[in-house]
């Protein structure tokens, strides 16, 4: 296997794991949502790397785009109600 490709995969997966941990452990709702959007972006990159462009398309559109926008407005209401 190409060492450059191996380094790419390792960097991608460690970044994804660190991002997931940061999103899960954040106490502030808005911070968690923005971290989740970034997580969706990187997950779409992982699907693209695994040669699944349809999954990457769905993840980018639904996972990061629609869910991110909905969760941003939900976080806004949670902050206002508090």
């Amino acid at each position: 296997m190409n060492p450059l490709l191996l380094g790419f995969d390792i960097l991608l997966s460690t970044t994804l794991l660190g991002l997931a941990l940061a999103a899960l452990t954040s106490r502030e709702p808005r911070r968690g949502v923005i971290l989740f959007i970034a997580f969706g972006l990187l997950l779409a990159l992982v699907w693209a790397r695994l040669r699944a462009p349809d999954l990457a398309l769905a993840e980018a559109a639904i996972g990061a785009g629609l869910a991110g926008a909905l969760m941003l407005s939900a976080a806004r209401r949670a902050v206002r109600r508090r």
Partner: protein, 88 residues
Amino acid sequence: MSLSDIHLAVALLLLSTMSIGLIRVAIGPTPSDRLMAAQLLGTSGIGLLLVLIPVIRVPALIDVALVFSLLAAVAIVAFTRRREQEDA
């Protein structure tokens, strides 16, 4: 060093700048800083996808890059709507 190796090296460089930019998403003092960093991440993600196309030979990835750029606008709209209502 073949051409796809050069593409791969550029992709690796872009990915490392993305992971460094993540620091700003995590520690950014205000939510605006965080979202701006996330948008920067999306932009470098588009570049990364386009560079990755000749390496893994999946031309359909260009549509994914298109959706990435579409998604950035949606996130910005959702975020700025919040600010407007908060000010009012």
